[in-house]
Symmetry: C2
Subunit: 117 residues, 2 copies
């Protein structure tokens, strides 16, 4: 069982895997850094430690962002969306967010852009 | 079958429901407006029309954002993340993004904030 406040837990809408979406955004610049997954316990740890903590679907375990790489996320704000299935984390990202070495996970693969005049 | 380029379709990593995450961000301001879901066909429609088009899990159908409300999203950019399970849409949001009437879906429910000194 998660230690998350039961009243908050009731408002979360998880998917079939028991998880919900977490979007990490850089404070100040507004960069969308990455999207990962949480359950109630990951959210509880994030709220109480201010270290962004996610749930890895592939490893089936919790991970504190940057714990091994040093690229930590200090959490300034957490906001829940209107239907309770996504949280937005406003963070200070140390170093790079992406495991590939880029600043964000969205820096490399552009599927559509404004046409150049 | 989706009309999406098969090479692109191969790079998408969908969840158990056959869907992936789409984050809509306002161009210029960087506001994270909302998070919704897509499949290959929704992405194809978004890329070809530049109108943000999602898949509704509850209604089990495609929806063009703003088609009934007028609060459309014109899509300037689409970026795929490093592991292929999230797209970031850079959009111009007309009016409000949230069905509750707020500008973004994250405006109302703050779970954690910086303590006021």
């Amino acid at each position: 069982m998660s230690k998350l406040d039961p009243k908050l837990a009731e408002r979360l809408r998880s998917n079939a895997d028991g998880l919900f979406c977490a979007v990490a955004q850089q404070r100040g610049t507004g960069e969308v850094l990455m999207v990962a997954w949480m359950d109630g316990e990951a959210l509880y740890r994030t709220l109480t430690t201010r270290k962004a903590t996610y749930y890895s679907r592939s490893r089936q375990s919790y991970w504190v962002k940057g714990e091994t790489s040093g690229n930590t996320q200090y959490v300034h704000e957490v906001r829940l969306d209107c239907d309770g299935d996504t949280v937005l984390l406003i963070v200070d990202q140390k170093g790079v967010a992406c495991h590939t070495g880029t600043r964000t996970c969205f820096d490399t693969d552009i599927l559509l852009s404004d046409s150049v005049e």
